[in-house]
């Protein structure tokens, strides 16, 4: 028992440290942005240069010009902190899982915690080698919000599962939901950035849109799998694979909106609409996690706030 308590405590400490490290990273990103702006730059900074994306851009998505070296090194330090924060969150997830003696996604807090880790990892994997460095600060902010909300509002001490959750399918179904959710998050941030840049005159051919697309292409099948695994589990637990429980309904809505997004992408002249649909799909996903668990009574309500 003492060992369990220790691990849970360690997990909590790791989460707090990760919050601190990621906040610091965010501050550094802000400083880097400020330095880049006040550096010997040409004229007023434009978020999206008119006439397309510059071929070569630095890791802040802006033209690699004479931005001060300090800005670049600050950005690099921020990235190092993000990596460190990610490692801390992953360790926190690991400790939590060991403390509970099961997969660490049995309640909303653990879902948020593991989700934060997944978003950070996805973010680091996907942003490598792409001209979308400007997203880094935003994604760190999203991770901070998710982790912060999990710690302050959703926190629950390590505990056993209610019987109906005690199934192998919990591991598979929820893991797939977390993974696709993390990818949807990266996709939504990139899509939002793309939408903002469109207003600045960027065309369809935008590295942010490319990033969003490649993320969605992976996330959508995983989400499909999560829904199917959920249906199989529901059949095993309640005797029907689909019952239009609010959670199932919103999973379905999310799926349909992302399907609409993918179809709209290949409809001529609907690229902006397609982006809006992707954002709508993400909002449906968020509502499914927060709204349905908190406000709507249903079979999934035991998920534990």
């Amino acid at each position: 028992m003492t060992q369990q308590l220790d691990l849970a405590g360690i997990s909590d400490v790791l989460v707090t440290s990760a919050l601190a490290v990621l906040s610091l990273a965010l501050v550094l990103y802000a400083i880097a942005a400020a330095l880049a702006r006040t550096g010997p730059a040409r004229g007023p900074r434009v978020l999206a240069p008119v006439g397309g994306v510059p071929r070569h851009a630095d890791d802040k998505g802006r033209p690699a010009r004479t931005t001060s070296g300090r800005a670049t090194s600050t950005g690099r330090a921020a990235l190092a902190l993000v990596i460190m924060g990610t490692v801390l969150v992953c360790l926190a997830v690991l400790a939590r899982g060991l403390a509970a003696g099961r997969a660490p996604w049995g309640n909303m807090y653990e879902f948020g915690l593991t989700g934060s880790a997944a978003v950070s990892v996805a973010f680091l994997l996907y942003l490598r080698g792409r001209e979308v460095g400007g997203l880094a600060a935003w994604l760190v902010a999203v991770v901070l919000v998710l982790l912060g909300v999990s710690v302050t509002s959703l926190y629950t001490p390590v505990d056993d599962l209610v019987p109906v959750l005690n199934s192998r399918w919990l591991v598979v179904h929820v893991a797939a939901a977390i993974l696709s959710g993390a990818l949807f998050t990266v996709g939504a941030v990139a899509t939002t950035a793309h939408l903002v840049r469109r207003r600045g005159g960027v065309s369809d051919d935008d590295p942010f849109a490319d990033l969003a697309h490649s993320v969605h292409l992976v996330a959508f099948p995983i989400w499909t799998f999560a829904v199917i695994a959920g249906a199989v589990w529901a059949e095993n637990a309640w005797g029907r694979y689909w019952g239009w429980d609010p959670k199932e309904t919103w999973a379905f809505i999310t799926w349909v909106l992302y399907a609409a997004h993918l179809h709209a992408l290949s409809t001529a002249g609907w690229r902006r609409g397609a982006s809006l649909l992707a954002v709508a799909g993400f909002l449906a996903f968020l509502f499914n996690f927060f709204g349905v668990n908190i406000w709507i009574p249903g079979l999934h309500s035991y998920a534990g706030v």
């Binding site: 001490p157 505990d159 056993d160 209610v162 019987p163 109906v164 005690n166 199934s167 399918w169 051919d205 490319d210 697309h213 490649s214 292409l217 992976v218 959508f220 099948p221 499909t224 799998f225 199917i228 249906a231 199989v232 589990w233 059949e235 095993n236 637990a237 309640w238 005797g239 029907r240 694979y241 689909w242 019952g243 239009w244 429980d245 609010p246 309904t249 919103w250 379905f252 809505i253 349909v256 909106l257 399907a259 609409a260 993918l262 179809h263 709209a264 992408l265 290949s266 409809t267 001529a268 002249g269 609907w270 609409g273 649909l277 449906a284 349905v292 709507i296 009574p297 249903g298 079979l299």
Partner: protein, 538 residues
Amino acid sequence: MESQESRASGAQGVAEPPLRGLDRGTPPKPPSELVAWARWAWRRLTAMRTAVVLLILLASASVPGSLLPQRGVASDPSAVPIYYREHPDLAPWLDRLSLFDVYSAPWFAAIYVLLLTSMTGCVVPRCARLWREVRSAPPAAPRRLSKEDGYMSGEVDEAEDALEAAARHLRRRRFRVVRHGDEVRAAKGQVRELGNLAFHLSLLVLLVGVAGGRLFGYEGRVAVVEGSTFANVASSYDALTPAPWADLATLEPLEFTLESFAAEFETEGPRFGEPRGFEALVSYRSTEEGEGTFAVRPNRPLDIGGTKFFLTGHGYAPELTVRDGNGDVAASGPTIFLPVDQTFTSDGVVKVPDARPRSLALQGLFLPTGVEGPEGKGVSAFPGLVNPIVQLSAYTGDLGLDDGSPQSVFTLDFTDLDRLERNGEPWRASLAPGQTVRLPDGLGSVTFDGVSRFANFQVARDPGKEISLVAAILLLGGLTTSLAVRRRRVWVRRGDDGLLEMAGRSLSRRPLPPDELMMLAAAVGLSGGTDERRKGER
């Protein structure tokens, strides 16, 4: 439908009217207005943008069902009546719009039927076109290779050898390859379209599976008290909702006895009282599977010949013996009390129409762990059986059982009942196991003998289940294939000036695999090549 031939029109369904069959055999006069109209409507329906609009409609139409109470959705069967009581003006209107049965509403069905039609009309002609394409050779190289998505050029020592090497390399990489004069033409990734077709058709299969359950399946609920036996015939169920064509006369012949039921609850910490484990030990007898015992637990149903019994709930059944005014036992044995809260405070009634001189009815509240609550009212502090208490009030009069109208066993019809009183106060009693209390006016006595538990079983038979599972696997496989495989063409051409050019074109929205041309260049010994990747031109 996700990918499109990048250079073809965006809305694929429009490209080719699939109604050609209609005007087969008609003379070459302009088609009648009706045909033209039908053709126009079909083209509209099968256009990609129609599919997108229908998808958005489908998503929006699903929303009200999650916000309003729904009939036939498992969580709370009384949600709709409660809503009716709380919103007496609004509810009938919502009901008229089928908003309490959204997922079986005609307008909901209209959306998905249109969507499936649109989808089929879009995908099938497209796949027919693709099939023709697959059987023909990879197409000739465009005149200006440098305008393609990927392009490399450079000098080679032996152009002919290089072309051979390129063909070999591409074949090894599972391209379909033809040599034609000075060029090598290759194509790969048609399986993407197969996946696309599988994905979309799987939705039709899924519809068949869902329909199977909706037309031939049934769902039932039954509460079984410890020690009693359930026989699988329609009349044994507490609730049974059969599909229109379900055959209830031939239910799986079986019976089972609930030998014991065990529940564990958290006894410490902030989650005090939360369930930790349930187990219903049953012994079953079936003509098909013989006899046996089985521990039914959450996520572990009893499955006999495809009929599954799921443990979905439990509660207490206090054993009350009622003696009437003549001293005869008028009622005895366990009575199911329905839990009303997390600590299993439970409600129940005992109807004793045969008590003499006057028939009796008891209304009771059962507290598994009774403690003194606020205002002296008894409450249950824990869902487990620590200090069982049953609190009773009693009625006499006409129970309304003889007029033939159906009545719930869990409620009393108070119209012709009088509450028993003592000294002008309503009579109440609070009993612990083993205690007996006398009713006022010499009407008899009640003994609280002990407590049994009951288990709630959800019973389901869905003959379309396996079809739906196959559809789901097909759906996932098709989707993954159609999103992961990149369909593309590669050309290698020898120029007159001894220059070797190679180019790749992506036929989906995703770029060419990085390094594909580089590796091809390395395989043919292209030196000093330049890699020019173009990303635009979608």
